[in-house]
């Protein structure tokens, strides 16, 4: 080991070190299915020399003549092979039992994949190898069937909306993340991707029932890397790259803008604003002002792992740094993570271990990622191109500059950033806005870890106790200088410096007993366990000081002494939240041919009402390996066939605390003796029967191996969620001051999923393909006595953009449809109802001809109809690995279809807001357009001010997420530096996106209320990276 460390120290200064030996290379495959095996460890017996097979199962190793190579891999029989000369040695590994022994994590344990009866998708470290994605959710996107992941935006470090098998609830329901056996609340961005060994997605209720009342939306199990006994392995993996926007919007230039504005004003009877539009040229490219075509991204991680018979360890440190492509000065993400995982055998029957990680994250994000109320993106889209970036004068004598010469924002040369006189409200010069946000940041520190103790008193019996904790601190640090951006956005009185600090502490105490035994051909495992969790210990405080002698964030400080009147503070604390559970699982199989799994979990949650403190979540699933039956004839078409069927029930306890009980609030006062008293009383009647939202799911699955090289898995499911929380409309004669909450609404998701894998070898070329696709349908079946529920609303319109209604998919877009644009008055006159009355008597040529949905002869609110689904119905992804000698290529693509995007980029209440290029195709006279109505100042005919088909666009896309080409250095060179592996690669993320959508990015997640609604979403970056990955 010392020698290796010394080697490490010298590698960069000397390549002269060398060792005499043979070079052995080859590929390792599995005897079961002929699959290439990545990650097989190869060592020279009796030495510390070792190597691993790469992503496509290939290895090279240098060994002394007549030495023995040891090939080992989990679930496989270890093989020892004597080598005498340099050679190609292809090794076939046998399963350590008769069956295929790949194991998957199933919650409170692992299970052999061959006997799994639920719907579990698995992603291994090797699949994610060298993928440059900052977040686990991003890494998982497109990897497995049934999981729809949409980043909320392209903001560095942005979270993602993860829907497993469609939307599970009308209320918030996201998957439960369990890291190394401990549920982690509050996001998993603290994890470094390089530390991840495997990710399992429990998709059906039969598998997820073991997590009971928090598992309705599915469970994602993440396992971090462990050390293996053997020599110290040091791995460095790093990349640096550059990012740029994939494309920009086609907005009007100054001449086009002025022309359309003039036309709109004249049409409304007002004078023209621009006397000579063509003299304005192209004007200011505001997108050019905010976008960075060369934003840096880099990641460096180094890990140490190894151990001996008694103890193993894995330690890593990683640093990730990404600049945003939009307003880079105020958009940046940095994360440092440290991890130490270790496991120790104290005696033959006693083990303990720990998994501990610390992360520090610092984010600068001075504007909203998808919001039309200001910020740099919305401003760049809506600002007029006529206004220049900066003024020509240092001290303009015109207003509004003249009155605010000391507070207007200036560029580096002292020239004031120009203030638009055409576009106001929240829209401001983005370059000036950036200056006011400089330095502002938020940060978090996460300390997440667990420690466990395992006792095996007798063979097959294991007692395990684990305590997991998460301690997190997070906060903000911001400075608001004196500034004047516009008449509606300024801070002219006092600057202010603000800090906040929040803390949360969660602990989980888990105890399990499991017993595994085989009688003859009967194998069973019983698991019993208890778990207690406390996740309500959250509080925060914040303070501001005003009027300090500072001009920027960087010279602001809390140390300045200001009068008490110039300070303010606030605080909060979360309500307590505890969970207490017991659970049991039985796994049984007969000869690995018939299997049965039964789970029951009883969860107690402090969120439930007193009549329902405990919820019971059972599941049962069964499997049958048809191909092992005697009647099955061995054939070349279907090599393996397993059928699975499962049913289970899960819950969602994500309800606000104390909704079940009646709390006291201010409900109206009275004046007695000239004093105004406040009256207190119960705000809403108690509903002691309030309970979890319940999701039950039926799953049928088929696993097959076909034509030796193909694997396929098909899943069909139906998921039904009932008792979704809503406020109950109770009769007013009850006299309550507010409505109580009840378990009311229900809906279902149905779907079909397909996963396909292919392995092929043609000479030296290895082809490995994995693909998946899913079709998901969703429908609301009950929303109580409500006619509909409003989801998203649209700017200043009284009409909502999307609603929830029985019989429709959740949050479907809702609005008006047009039949075309009226070309002439004759067409308006001819558009009549059955009685011959004009349907749109006040319309003018160029206005939309709206569809009279209810046929009542006029266009009213009841003529709105369904316009499309924001949630994709079809999702797919694939990974293609090609390997030829030392070269490898990975292509990973992912896409969705069946969804619509509501393009709300333009602010309707700002008449001077710029337009997309498509406005050039507006109606200007008969025959000019049948889809884009005339543009008139004030939009008197409401062509654009109501939600309509006009705003909806096809949201389908296919995106090549990653294209990577790598080269693994030949052994002859590695010998010299004592490396066991060295790979260099270049990688492109988001090389291209195929979509008809005209906004920045068709991928718009971020919660139900904004899902699929584009208000200027921060686009994903296209990044080019080069990296190296070496192990010694």
């Amino acid at each position: 080991m010392k020698q290796t460390i010394l080697t490490l120290l010298f590698i960069f200064c000397s390549l002269a070190l060398s060792a005499q030996g043979l070079q052995v290379k080859g590929v390792v495959t599995s005897a079961d299915d002929g699959q290439l095996l990545p990650g097989v460890s190869i060592s020279v017996k009796g030495t510390t020399t070792g190597s691993l097979t790469d992503a496509i199962g290939a290895y090279t190793i240098n060994a002394p003549a007549n030495s023995t190579l040891v090939f080992s891999f989990v679930g496989m029989k270890t093989q020892e092979i004597l080598v005498k000369s340099s050679t190609t040695l292809n090794v076939v590994m046998q399963s350590s039992t008769a069956m295929m022994e790949e194991v998957v994590v199933v919650g409170y344990g692992v299970q052999k994949k061959s006997v799994v009866t639920g719907a579990i998708s698995s992603v291994k470290a090797t699949d994610l190898m060298d993928m440059a994605t900052p977040r686990i959710e991003d890494a998982l996107k497109g990897r497995t069937s049934g999981v729809t992941i949409a980043s909320s935006s392209g903001v560095p470090g942005a979270d993602a909306t993860v829907n497993i098998r469609g939307i599970t609830s009308i209320n918030s329901a996201s998957p439960l993340y369990v890291v190394d056996g401990v549920p982690v609340i509050g996001g998993i961005d603290y994890l470094n991707q390089g530390d991840i060994e495997s990710i399992e997605v429990l998709k059906d209720a039969a598998s997820a029932a073991i997590y009971g009342t928090q598992a309705a939306a599915g469970v994602i199990l993440i396992t971090t890397k462990k050390g293996t006994a053997g020599a110290l392995k040091v791995n460095y993996n790093g990349y640096v790259g550059t990012q740029a926007p994939e494309h920009k919007l086609n907005l009007l230039n100054a001449t086009e803008y002025a022309t359309i504005r003039n036309e709109a004003l004249v049409a409304a009877g007002s004078p023209m604003l621009f006397s000579n539009p063509s003299s304005l040229g192209v004007g200011t490219d505001w997108q050019g002002v905010i976008f960075n075509n060369n934003a840096m991204i880099q990641n460096h991680e180094i890990s140490f792992s190894g151990g001996n018979d008694k103890s193993t360890y894995y330690a890593s440190v990683a640093y990730f740094d990404q600049e945003g492509i939009v307003a880079t000065d105020i958009s940046k993400y940095q994360r440092t993570t440290v991890r130490l995982n270790s496991a120790h055998k104290v005696t033959k029957w006693l083990n303990f271990g720990n998994n501990v990680s610390y992360s520090h994250i610092k984010v600068k994000q001075g504007f909203s990622a998808n919001d039309y109320f200001g910020g740099v993106l919305a401003s760049a889209v809506n600002m007029d191109p006529v206004t220049p970036l900066i003024t020509a004068d240092l001290n303009p004598a015109t207003e509004p500059y003249a009155s605010h010469l000391t507070s207007i924002v200036r560029d580096a040369n002292g020239y004031p950033y120009a203030i638009s006189s055409y576009v106001g409200q929240e829209m401001t010069n983005p370059a000036a806005y950036i200056k006011t946000q400089e330095g502002n940041n938020s940060w978090s520190d996460n300390l997440v870890g667990n420690m466990y103790l395992e006792v095996q008193p007798i063979k097959g019996l294991q007692l395990r106790s684990s305590i997991g904790t998460k301690l997190a601190f997070w906060g903000d640090d911001s400075f608001s200088p004196i500034y004047f951006l516009s008449n509606t956005n300024s801070n002219l009185t006092q600057n202010s410096y603000n800090r906040s600090l929040n803390r949360t502490f969660t602990w989980t105490f888990t105890n399990t007993v499991s017993y595994t035994r085989s009688f003859d051909k009967h194998n069973f495992t019983i698991l019993l366990g208890t778990e207690a969790r406390d996740q309500g210990n959250t509080f925060g405080t914040g303070a501001s000081i005003h009027g300090i002698p500072a001009t920027t964030f960087y010279n602001a400080s809390m140390n300045y002494n200001v009068p008490a009147t110039q300070t303010s503070g606030w605080g909060y604390e979360n309500q307590p939240y505890t969970l207490s559970s017991i659970f049991a699982r039985l796994n049984y199989d007969y000869q690995g041919k018939y299997m049965l799994t039964g789970i029951v979990r009883r969860d107690g949650s402090s969120h439930f009402g007193s009549n329902n403190v405990y919820g019971y979540f059972p599941s049962v699933s069964a499997g049958w390996v048809v191909s092992q039956e005697g009647f099955w004839k061995t054939n070349d078409y279907i090599n393996y066939l397993k059928l699975r069927l499962g049913y289970g029930v899960n819950g969602n306890d994500n309800l606000s605390p104390f909704l079940y009980t009646s709390t006291i609030g201010s409900i109206g006062g009275y004046t007695i003796g000239n004093t105004n008293y406040t009256g207190y009383g119960p705000t809403a009647p108690a509903n002691p029967s309030l309970k979890w939202e319940q999701t039950s799911q039926l799953n049928f699955g088929v696993d097959a191996k076909l034509f030796k090289n193909f694997t396929a898995a098909i899943e069909v499911f139906q998921k039904t969620t009932t008792g979704m929380l809503m406020q109950v409309v109770i009769p007013e004669y009850v006299g309550a001051s507010a409505q109580p909450w009840g378990n009311i609404a229900s809906m279902w998701d149905r779907g079909l999923e397909l996963e396909l894998g292919v392995n092929y070898k043609i000479g030296d070329l290895t082809i490995n393909f994995k693909g998946n696709s899913s079709i998901t349908k969703n429908q609301i079946t009950d929303i109580g006595s409500n006619d509909h529920l409003v989801n998203a609303t649209m700017q200043s319109s009284a009409y909502e953009v999307s609603r929830k209604v029985v019989g429709q998919p959740v949050n479907e877009f809702y609005g008006f449809k047009y039949l075309g644009v009226f070309q002439t008055q004759a067409e308006i006159d001819a558009y009549v109802d059955k009685d011959g009355n004009k349907i749109q008597p006040t319309a003018k040529p160029g206005d939309y001809k709206w569809l009279d949905v209810d046929g009542d002869g006029s266009i009213t609110s009841s003529d709105r109809t369904w316009l499309g689904n924001p949630n994709p119905t079809f999702t797919y992804g694939f990974t293609l690995n090609l390997a030829y000698k030392g070269f490898d290529l990975v292509a990973f693509g992912q896409g969705v279809s069946g969804n619509k995007i509501f393009n709300e980029l333009r602010r309707l209440d700002i008449p001077g807001a710029n337009y997309m290029n498509s406005a050039l195709g507006r109606w200007t006279g008969p025959g000019t357009s049948n889809t884009y109505a005339r543009i008139v100042e004030g939009d008197p005919s409401n062509n654009f001010s109501v939600p309509s088909q006009f705003y909806l666009q096809d949201g389908s896309y296919f995106r090549l997420k990653t294209l990577q080409i790598g080269y693994t250095l030949p052994m002859s060179l590695m010998d010299k530096v004592n490396f066991s592996k060295a790979r260099i690669y270049v990688s492109v993320n988001n090389l291209f996106t195929l979509t008809k959508y005209e906004g920045y990015d068709p991928e718009i997640g971020g919660g139900q209320s904004i899902y699929g609604i584009d208000r200027g979403v921060y686009p994903q970056a296209r990044s080019f990276m080069a990296g190296i990955d070496f192990t010694f």
């Binding site: 006693l350 006792v455 008193p457 007692l463 105890n511 007993v513 366990g529 208890t530 207690a532 309500g536 604390e573 309500q575 307590p576 505890t578 969970l579 207490s580 107690g604 949650s605 402090s606 403190v613 605390p657 104390f658 009980t661 009646s662 709390t663 006291i664 609030g665 201010s666 409900i667 109206g668 006062g669 009275y670 004046t671 007695i672 003796g673 000239n674 004093t675 105004n676 008293y677 406040t678 009256g679 207190y680 009383g681 119960p682 705000t683 108690a686 509903n687 002691p688 029967s689 409309v729 009769p731 007013e732 004669y733 009850v734 006299g735 309550a736 001051s737 507010a738 109580p740 006595s785």
Partner: protein, 508 residues
């Protein structure tokens, strides 16, 4: 080795069991920064706050829980022959408009506001009465009994409002359990009146005869006795007129009340809780209410009945300098003609057109829907009472007098006449009301008593009820579209019929 196994295994199993056995208490958590209903009503201050919430529902302005404007004078005046709905247009305050022209259905808003506000009050009273069944540390028995008596009086008041407006209503005297919410049926009106009498009979011995100035606004013995007499009168049973007269007599002869010398002083915000006021619903100009959902203490009705775009010209006297309002409840010219020669006319009607004519005011008559130029004076927003802080429109301090001595005089006289009682006393009561404004004696007939009520109590919210209970509504209100056999009561609000066992009133 074996021993160690057993030791560890036992320890381990012990841990498991501990984890399970203590789980129930582990799940019983208490909220922070919020009070559970089960932990409230435990100190005298908390009980007082709960009582304030019951009183809140008499004020009927707006509040956190019931967030709407629900003044009852506006629609009642619009319903009678005294006023039109008015406002800015035919759709301004639909609750007023649909009662003005008798186009109300169960779906338009008019009835639901009375309904909801009164039932909120009943529920709050029911809750507090049931909570006070358990002793409260530090609360004297006498104070507890007084709270209960106030709750019962208020509950009687709310039920009296409901039974005379809707006739067929649910009747409960305990908080309605979640499981019963949809199973309630309507009670027969007689049992509602019986409950009203029961509550008031229980409260009267307990309530104080008078209250200190710091308690102005809390109910007295006189309030409860007056309401009891009035309720019995409304039961319209000749055999019980003596009972009604007897309770009203107790009020009128209690010595606590006397008629004010000057009629105009009765409604003066500077003269609150005066000797003529028996049941007064307090308002305040100091609660600093702003637009948006907030807990109103001011009287918005004052603004509603003001002339639109009003400005004073020159120097009119302070009782005729108004705050510009929204022109609701303009007084019907025909009604003004009826009372024009009465000495109380000038204190009842704000004749803006005359003020304009003599050059003391300007206002926009055309901006007011159904404007007559005649506005309500008794609750007029006089500039001199404009609030110091807060939104002027929302913060008028004018109290609403629910029952006053002239009313109980006239009601006692009526009960005596109808019950063949002491006609000498009846005449004396009628004459007293007339003499106060300098009018001569008239014979004590029911017609004269009713005529006196019209003159004395104009625009105070009594006229419509009087017309209905005396059977005159169909003829007097025919010009507004009143339908006999239907419009004597309001429709049950439509949403109350969803999933419940309530039955709609006839002909709605």
């Amino acid at each position: 080795m074996k021993i160690k196994f057993i030791l560890y295994s036992t320890l381990f199993t012990g841990l498991l069991l501990t984890g399970t056995s203590c789980s129930k208490s582990f799940l019983e958590v208490s909220p922070t920064g919020e009070v559970l209903e089960s932990n409230y009503y435990q100190t005298p201050d908390q009980v007082f706050s709960a009582m304030v919430a019951v009183y809140n529902c008499t004020e009927a302005e707006a509040g956190y829980g019931i967030n709407w404007y629900a003044n009852k004078l506006g629609p009642l005046n619009a319903a009678a022959d005294e006023c039109y709905a008015g406002g800015g247009s035919s759709s301004d305050m639909m609750a007023y408009q649909v009662w003005n022209n008798y186009t109300m259905t169960s779906a338009n808003a008019i009835s639901s506001k009375f309904w909801a506000m009164d039932y909120a009050g009943i529920n709050r009273a029911n809750i507090l009465i049931s909570k006070l069944g358990t002793p409260v540390t530090g609360l004297a028995d006498a104070d507890r009994d007084r709270y209960i008596a106030e709750c019962k009086t208020l509950r009687a008041y709310f039920y009296f409002e409901l039974v005379r407006l809707f006739k067929n209503i649910p009747l409960t005297t305990v908080p309605i359990a979640t499981s019963d919410m949809y199973n309630i049926v309507q009670a027969v009106p007689d049992s509602v009146y019986a409950q009203i009498e029961r509550d008031l009979n229980a409260a009267i011995p307990v309530l104080p005869s008078t209250v200190a100035t710091t308690e102005y606004g809390r109910l007295t013995k006189g309030s409860a006795m007056a309401l009891l007499g009035k309720a019995i009168l409304y039961e319209n049973n000749t055999a019980r007129m003596a009972d009604a007269a007897s309770w009203l007599n107790k009020v009128n002869t209690s010595g606590v009340y006397h008629l004010l010398a000057n009629y105009k002083d009765i409604f003066d915000p500077g003269n609150k809780f005066n000797a003529e006021s028996i049941w007064e619903i307090s308002h305040s100009g100091t609660s600093q209410a702003w637009w948006g959902p907030s807990d109103f203490r001011g009287n918005v009705y004052c603004t509603m009945i003001g002339p639109r775009s009003y400005s004073a010209v020159g120097t009119p006297d302070a009782d005729h300098i108004y705050y510009s309002g929204w022109s609701f409840n303009p007084i019907i010219k025909a009604f003004a003609t009826k009372i024009h020669n009465d000495p109380r006319y000038k204190y009842t009607v704000a004749d803006l057109d005359s003020l304009v004519a003599i050059g003391q005011a300007t206002y926009s008559g055309s901006a007011g829907y159904m404007n007559t130029g005649l506005f309500i004076q008794k609750y007029a927003a006089l500039l001199k009472w404009k609030c110091v802080t807060g939104q002027a429109e929302l913060n008028w301090p004018n109290d609403v007098i629910e029952i006053r001595l002239a009313d109980t005089y006239l009601m006692e006289a009526e009960a005596l006449v109808r019950g063949s009682g002491d006609l000498v006393r009846a005449k004396a009561l009628l004459d007293a009301v007339r003499a106060r404004v300098g009018l001569p004696s008239v014979p004590v007939t029911l017609d004269n008593i009713y005529n006196e009520r019209m003159l004395e109590l104009a625009t105070e919210g009594h006229r419509w009820f009087d017309l209905v209970r005396t059977g005159k509504a169909a003829s007097v209100l025919a010009f507004k579209g009143f339908v006999a056999g239907k419009n004597e009561i309001l429709p049950i609000p439509l949403e109350e019929l969803n999933n419940t066992k309530l039955i709609q009133n006839p002909n709605y």
